[in-house]
Symmetry: C2
């Protein structure tokens, strides 16, 4: 089986075409059944020739989105989605989850599923040569789903807005994520930011690998409380995505940390068995 790695440069000058989503469809993903519709100066959407279908509740899957998003939000799967409410979620987290779930019906947000391993998220795609995938007989877990007991470790859900190229992550650290007594470890927040960046970068512009993270910590997050992470894609340039993140309390009165991140774009190809 041949593995091919392709890197892409986005060099589109029109402001309405600077979206990684647009670029990935128009420049390289070659999906002839999609028509382009411009929706204001900053948003641009893709409409399929055959109409749009939606699936509210767990994940809005729509063919208005390019292949990364529809592949990511599998319509039918037996895989467990860890980004669903459970008894450990605090009221703030539950309320905001419901609020954003409503927005998936009207405002273009999608709720991302969260499987046990990134292997599930990129099923059927080839990694670059040199990144040989180790045997999958082991019990692999994505780091931010490493703790299985509800409420003890990472509780989080990510909502993504394709045309606005932004994400919201609702994050509730459990007592296994402790640093200073009673507060989340700085490293656990760093990892949550990296993971939210990572999913956003992949879906907004095929960003796959972290190049750099710059984090400034402002306040500690009490264990068991909600931190809201807002991620924006600032620009896509020279095969890199530049993103920013602010983590704060729900009422925005307390900033926990600010972060910038750079991710490298890598276009994964469909796996073919020859």
């Amino acid at each position: 089986m041949l593995m091919i790695l392709k890197c892409k440069a986005f060099q589109i000058s029109s402001p309405t075409l600077q979206s990684g989503l647009m670029a990935s469809v128009t420049v390289s993903l070659n999906l002839p059944n999609f028509a382009v519709r411009f929706d204001g100066m900053s948003d641009c959407l893709l409409e399929p020739a055959g109409g749009i279908y939606m699936d509210h509740g767990s994940c809005l899957i729509s063919s208005i989105f390019p292949s990364q998003v529809s592949r990511f939000c599998l319509k039918k799967t037996d895989l467990k989605d860890y980004a669903l409410p459970n008894a450990s979620w605090c009221p703030d987290m539950l309320n905001l989850y419901q609020e954003f779930l409503e927005k998936t019906k009207t405002d273009g947000w999608i709720k991302l599923p969260s499987f046990k391993s990134n292997r599930d998220h990129i099923q059927g795609l080839k990694l670059p040569s040199g990144l040989a995938v180790a045997s999958d007989k082991s019990d692999w877990r994505i780091f931010t789903r490493c703790i299985q007991v509800e409420g003890q470790g990472y509780e989080y859900v990510i909502f993504f807005h394709p045309s606005k190229k932004k994400s919201i992550c609702l994050f509730q650290p459990g007592p296994y994520l402790e640093g200073a007594p009673g507060f989340a470890h700085g490293g656990s927040l760093a990892a949550m930011m990296d993971e939210t960046f990572s999913k956003t970068a992949y879906l907004a512009g095929e960003g796959l690998f972290t190049v750099s993270l710059n984090i400034r910590f402002k306040n500690l997050i009490p264990v068991g409380s909600l931190a809201v992470l807002k991620v924006d894609v600032e620009k896509i340039e020279d095969q890199k995505l530049y993103m920013s993140c602010i983590a704060q309390s729900r009422d925005q009165q307390t900033v926990y940390a600010k972060c910038s991140g750079v991710f490298l774009q890598l276009q994964l190809e469909e796996e073919s068995f020859q």
Copy 2:
């Protein structure tokens, strides 16, 4: 119970006295039983009036070190030390562990114990007011010891050199720390760097809280292999410790990441029950 927070500034001009250890003893820790001995231009040691005792094997505890270190390396404790070899450690990790254990006998390195929670590491010390310690009825865990199954999560041990103000962390990520299939999540390395910085900052100069982390990722760490993190305290200024870290393969041929970190100094006081 009254809780008092004191911040310290280190403003010692002599090059041989720029050690955080020295400063913390001579300036504020007020330990009159210690005499000062200079050992070359860059090293300075403290000798107790009553001699030195050592405990090789698990942790070299010596009264040449200031109170943070001797408190950290409890001579007698029932607490489980998670920084000891187990069957999951790869040969590279075991070999380098033995190498550094030898250095604890001759070269001034100490092996740091690693307990389940930071609550155990700062037993008997008061946190600043505002950082109320939550009830300890829960099962709290320091983030980097969150996974209990040997080899599945974080395997690591930190060696610290007080007079050189540097640390070495031997880190073997398990399959629960995955990011890209077969490789450690960038966030898991970020957290390991933050934790190694954190322990170094506390022991070298009472640094307790992460102010910032700047990480540049170079290569992915294969799950199950060894990454060696080298941490240096670059300077202590304006109540902050400035540190650097490089994570690389044992043969130093592959750099995984470079990081700089700033930590805030906070002098914790003995707890008193009134």
